[in-house]
Symmetry: C2
């Protein structure tokens, strides 16, 4: 069995914890594993690493790769040159499997949902496998636990075998009244976007119902290359797999599943899945409450205090704070969209940015200067690089740094410092066990991440 993990997705509804460049699947909320990592581990329990293909888009590639590399030796990861919807991502991924000679049953899963009961999930997958082998396309319908308006629904009333149902119809996100009706009716299931099919069956179905996508998909040849070409992929329409294929397919069945699934689509969902104290509060990080109830306090850095709050979501990050009434969490997207419109950076990135070698945090920024704390993991190594518009000054806080500057090597201990002039090739590495922390002071008129010319990189970030 093969697995396709859809690791695209955006970061608007869980802002300010999620960002455009740090979407939901990468988040670790009160856990040591991200949703993406948990998804990958869930598949690793079913099949082997070499049978799991993840697909993300270029802007998330580095972060997705870093996370997957923390649990898999050599995770297969495709990168979409532009962000499209699920139909192109799944089609290209299936083509990849077929080109690699892997025409077997494929399980497609989103990477930004939570599943609490992995055992039940695995059992359902085992059942579905039989149906997929009989050339059915299987969708996994979730038994609704509330009249949700935020999900699409699957209507399926007639049995198809022992544990599956025929799919009558896919239903779009309903209004409150319709959702209440669906909830009372046992024939309606949430559409979780989890599918299973034989690769060749999917491709035939695609050919039949979405010939445009099929044609473009055929242009890719993964036999000789593993990269998705921009010129071809850009011709793809931006359309979901539901619209493009599933809603039209005839050979589709529903395997109902009750596995504690939640798409964590908004802050109130995050509140719901967490353990509450006796006042109904969820508190994560450094928090303090006085007379609060049914509220959610999340601190990533600073002290967050609530007084007399009721049904309030309060989220603190390094550069943005959100306070939101619990029944208005869908409107967080509006704030995100406004920030994007006015080009406020808080929609885009965090002040702490993860890299394959560790992370950096922007501490302070002013006219002509920028200061960062750079943390290099044991055996981490920044690329050999130079900058056209900035000089840098490094002071070691803890650990030991191996610095290459203009072809000379230096070992810097805590308290030592070094100047990196403009345009001079340099590199920072940590060949030791202890984590390395340095303060970097950048000076220059143009202080942007993009001012970086890479010459050598152990993480493959230099194109040949």
């Amino acid at each position: 069995m093969y697995g396709i993990i859809l690791a695209g997705g955006s970061g608007s509804r869980l802002w300010p914890l999620s960002r455009e460049l740090y979407p939901k699947q990468l988040l670790k909320i009160n856990t040591d594993k991200s949703l993406l990592e948990m998804t990958y581990l869930r598949l690793l329990d079913i099949t082997d690493e070499k049978n799991i293909l993840s697909i993300t888009n270029a802007k998330h590639f580095s972060d997705v790769k870093t996370q997957l590399s923390s649990i898999a030796k050599d995770p297969i990861l495709l990168s979409e040159p532009t962000q499209k919807n699920t139909a192109p991502a799944i089609s290209v991924s299936v083509k990849y499997l077929l080109d690699k000679g892997k025409d077997d049953v494929v399980l497609v899963v989103p990477s930004d949902h939570i599943i609490k009961d992995n055992k039940k999930f695995k059992e359902a997958v085992e059942k579905a496998k039989k149906l997929a082998k009989e050339d059915f396309i299987v969708t996994f319908g979730i038994k609704p636990t509330a009249p949700e308006t935020g999900y699409g629904y699957i209507k399926s009333s007639k049995k198809a075998g022992d544990f599956a149902f025929k799919v009558d119809e896919f239903k779009e996100k309903p209004d409150a009244k319709t959702a209440a009706k669906y909830f009372k009716n046992k024939n309606y299931f949430w559409n979780a976007g989890i599918f299973m099919f034989k690769a060749s069956v999917f491709m035939e179905t695609l050919k039949q119902f979405a010939p445009e996508i099929y044609e473009i998909t055929q242009e890719f040849n993964f036999k000789k290359d593993s990269a998705i070409e921009f010129t071809k992929f850009d011709k793809m329409p931006s359309i979901s797999i539901d619209y493009a294929v599933m809603e039209k397919a005839k050979n589709i069945v529903n395997v109902p599943i009750d596995c504690g699934w939640n798409d964590l689509g908004s802050w109130d969902a995050i509140y719901e899945i967490n353990k509450k104290d006796k006042e109904g509060n969820v508190k994560i990080g450094t928090t303090m409450t006085e007379g609060c109830k049914n509220s959610f306090l999340y601190s990533s850095n600073r002290l967050v205090a609530g007084v007399g709050l009721d049904d309030i979501i309060l989220v603190e990050t390094s550069d943005a704070i959100l306070a939101c009434k619990k029944d208005k969490t869908q409107d967080v997207k509006k704030v995100f969209d406004k920030l994007k419109e006015i080009k406020d950076e808080t929609h885009l990135v965090h002040t702490t940015v993860y890299r394959p070698w560790g992370y950096y945090t922007v501490l302070n920024q002013g006219d002509g200067y920028l200061t960062k704390m750079i943390c290099v993991s044991s055996h981490g190594q920044l690329s050999l690089q130079s900058h056209n518009f900035r000089s840098e000054h490094w002071v070691v806080l803890s650990g030991c740094a191996r610095v290459t500057l203009d072809n000379k090597n230096y070992i810097l201990k805590p308290g030592s410092s070094i100047d990196i002039p403009v345009k001079v090739k340099h590199s920072l590495g940590n060949p030791y066990k202890e984590e390395l922390k340095i303060i970097e002071v950048q000076k220059g008129d143009k202080l942007v991440e993009e001012d970086i010319i890479r010459y050598k990189d152990i993480y493959g970030r230099v194109k040949a």
Copy 2:
């Protein structure tokens, strides 16, 4: 006429903007002047700088002096060695005036209230002056605008001359029911803690009703010295002037005053005095709202976003965030007290600390290191100092630094850096027009502000 400004006070109810070491009177909320500065300017409009005496306590002395020095050439400032209540502060201040041969009318004002209509205040002061000259003690009763439970009241029903009333009784903070009753009755006024009397009359009244305080007060001799001695002051009881004197005095009259007074005793008071948008929101700093009403959003550094909030106070500072239901702002003190109890530094100081030469901001702290941004004003000069437990490393971000290190002088331009070893005498100055900004990296096992030995200081912080 003389003025005594009471500049003690604590920082619990407006936390996290106020701190134990940065109390309410020092705050500039949506204004360019602090409450203390506005109080001083209000008195400067009535009398001369040399007739205004301010009294604060040792822990606030430096900040109070820095603020007063920004508006007065040589402000007279007494410092209480320990924090007592208002009776000792006023008694010692009056003794100071008498010792300096200044037995005239004295106006006593708190420094942490707001008065919107300075003209009406000045008019009332002029009227009161006549009464004070006739040996009355004058209190200024504020005409209530709401049934406040947070203030003490003055009951005064019978006329005493054209514009004053006899004081029947001082009333403690009432419960809601009693406050409603007071509010309907035109004989009740808020006690604003503003008084006026002849210095010698006060001292006689003190002798009569608070002989213990009077005796200790007489031990001070400001003819030869201007410092308050700890050994004497520490014997003072901690008691308010109302309890000690005013409630007992017979020669006390009330001059009602309607001058837009507010003691800004809690966050809802701050909300009330600020201009609202059409949804009833007050927004200060970088804020964004989506469907909020009657709420208060305050950002000092980071973006603060509110979604669907109603009657919520949201305050952001560098190291602590507060969200509070508007009718629960009195309970902010409980959070403050808890933080103090668990020795959480956020009750005590801000990450940005003001100094006579400028300010510094703690950017980052970790095991064995601490990084600050230090900003030195034009012509600012840090003391000549050394540290027993830390080395320092300075990188100039902008402006130019004059550094003295081990008796040698250096001029550092942006991008340059210098190492300050443990125990070596050093000093940092900015003799230029442009503000100087540097990054300081401290290294050592014991990184506390107290590890500073001063040898020379242009602000008088070195004791002879």
